[in-house]
């Protein structure tokens, strides 16, 4: 992760097509186009895992079925706790086969249609349910030294429980952190960096103009009167967090992608 930050490698989020899509062919084409573009730019493609509990196709399966070529170290797979153990082991095996080492391990959002890991299946006892912590531990134990494991940090949650969770995540094997989308300076992120100066941190940039959607998701209060300019915010984030990487969610591939070559200046 440190090398991504030093080399100004953007983390670009790409969502696989939803299972319920009625235009599967064109969705697959779009995914291929986005993935290839990110690879060609030397950026890192971050593929989500049933984001928000919506059934979608799985990242490593997309790469395998579509014959995509992951470039060295430039793919990150999201992995959550809503899989059967068989499926989980399959995803990890595929990652190994494809040489994909970067995983973002999250608890995730479930739904009626999604299975979930039970604690005893992954050797976790004494917990009521499997969270990212238990999943991290399982992956670190089953595949020692292979994966580069990242976790999420939510600066909008109450401080104490969120930092307590971070302690547990780090103890279980987390090696880098990706924050929830931040607008400008956020004291929570500052505190994270102060507490763990050696920990690589990637801040998430909300690239959609629709700030209301983010507010709904994280409870962020929108400042009155200003229209939100995602590119401007991105530049701000580079200024405020020069030692952090950046994760781009909801990036407009048509309208915003071309700006990216100019946004990350060496400070």
């Amino acid at each position: 992760m440190k090398s991504h930050i030093e080399n100004r490698v953007y983390h670009v989020e790409i969502l696989p097509p939803k299972q319920e899509t009625e235009k599967l062919e064109s969705d697959l084409e779009l995914f291929t186009t986005k993935f290839s573009r990110v690879m060609n730019s030397g950026y890192c493609a971050c593929i989500t895992d049933n984001a928000m509990g919506n059934l979608a196709f799985q990242g490593t399966e997309m790469i395998e079925e579509l014959g995509l070529a992951p470039r060295e170290d430039l793919v990150m797979i999201h992995l959550n706790t809503f899989h059967t153990k068989v499926a989980l082991d399959g995803i990890l095996a595929s990652c190994r086969n494809l040489g994909i080492r970067n995983l973002l391990v999250v608890s995730g959002d479930g739904s009626d249609r999604l299975p979930r890991l039970l604690p005893r299946e992954i050797g976790a006892s004494g917990v009521a349910a499997v969270t990212s912590v238990e999943l991290l531990r399982y992956i670190a134990n089953e595949h020692p030294g292979f994966f580069n494991l990242g976790v999420a940090f939510n600066p909008y949650e109450p401080e104490e429980p969120e930092f307590e969770k971070m302690e547990r995540k780090l103890a279980a094997g987390a090696a880098f952190v990706i924050t929830q989308p931040v607008i400008g300076l956020h004291p929570g992120v500052q505190k994270l960096m102060e507490k763990y100066p050696a920990l690589p941190v990637v801040v998430e940039a909300w690239m959609s103009k629709k700030l209301e959607l983010l507010s709904e998701a994280v409870g962020y209060e929108i400042p009155q009167g200003q229209a939100y300019d995602p590119i401007e915010n991105l530049r701000e984030l580079h200024r405020i967090y020069p030692s952090c990487g950046v994760y781009l969610s909801l990036l407009g591939f048509k309208t915003q992608y071309d700006f990216l070559k100019d946004t990350w200046k060496r400070g």
Binding site: Q19, L55, F57, E61, E65, T84, D112, R113, L114, P115
Partner: protein
């Protein structure tokens, strides 16, 4: 083993909103989905094939757009599918439905096992499974929560009851209806989905399965719905209580007493 799994397309449930005045559940934006119990039946059929080999054929009686649920079944492992569709089937009650499905099973031929979900969430009758067994003259087991043993001429199944469970040996051929506990269904893969899209699903009409017109559709249905209406209103306003646990508990006991419940 040759397995037929019956699936039904039903209206999906959506976000619940309680109308504050009537206290009715308001449903919005309903889309058609595969009946939840049938998902478990399809998974179990595929697992049986993985256990002992054979073929899984998904079967649905419905309008043309029901082919979506058949393709879902294929995307998680069914080998092929058949859509039983004909205007003449319209208005069928459970008797006529089980008859039509039985005719289709007969036409498929050499079937060893039929799996169904316990009930459809629109009709809520749970009658088609045992009705189908009876039309075929086969064994049946309902509310199956496990199939611990599969032998040449029989299966051992575990059936769920209100007060516990039982374990029985069931002669083949048989019709089983399954409940949610039986397995954890797999999610469709991209490969499965692509295969499902390419698959040709034949449509069989009444004539194709040799169904007698007097036994299908409205004419073949002994039951008729003569009236539908919304359920009776709950009507009562919500009494909200907060405060110390002791106060809340006292209020709770008081309310129960007032209603003669304790």
């Amino acid at each position: 083993m040759k397995i037929v799994v019956c699936v039904k397309q039903v209206p999906g449930t959506s976000e619940a909103r309680i109308d504050p005045e009537t206290k009715r559940i308001v449903r919005e934006g309903i889309k058609a989905v595969i009946n939840p119990f049938d998902v478990y039946a399809v998974e179990e059929a595929v697992r049986i094939r993985e256990r002992i080999g054979g073929e899984v054929i998904a079967l649905s009686m419905g309008p043309a757009r029901a082919d979506v649920v058949l393709r879902e079944a294929i995307s998680v492992g069914a080998d092929r599918a058949i859509l039983l569709s004909d205007r003449a089937f319209g208005g069928s009650d459970t008797w006529a439905t089980s008859y039509a499905l039985a005719q289709a099973v007969r036409k498929i031929g050499d079937v060893d096992l039929v799996l169904c979900g316990k009930q459809a969430i629109d009709g809520d009758t749970a009658q088609v499974g045992p009705g189908l067994a009876s039309q075929l003259g086969w064994s049946q087991a309902t509310c199956v929560m496990a199939i611990p043993e599969i032998a040449q001429e029989s299966l051992v199944v575990k059936r769920m009851h209100e007060d516990g469970w039982d374990r029985c040996r069931v002669r083949l051929p048989a019709v089983l209806t399954v409940v949610k506990d039986i397995n954890q269904p797999r999610v469709p893969t991209l490969r499965g989905r692509l295969a499902a899209q390419k698959m040709i699903i034949p449509t069989w009409g009444a004539a194709d399965v040799g169904a007698e017109l007097g036994k299908i559709g409205l004419e073949g249905s002994p039951t008729r719905v003569v009236k539908t209406e919304p359920p009776p209103l709950r009507g009562k306003a919500t009494l909200k209580i907060e405060g110390s646990a002791a106060d809340c508990a006292e209020a709770f006991v008081r309310e129960l007493r007032l209603k003669g419940l304790v």
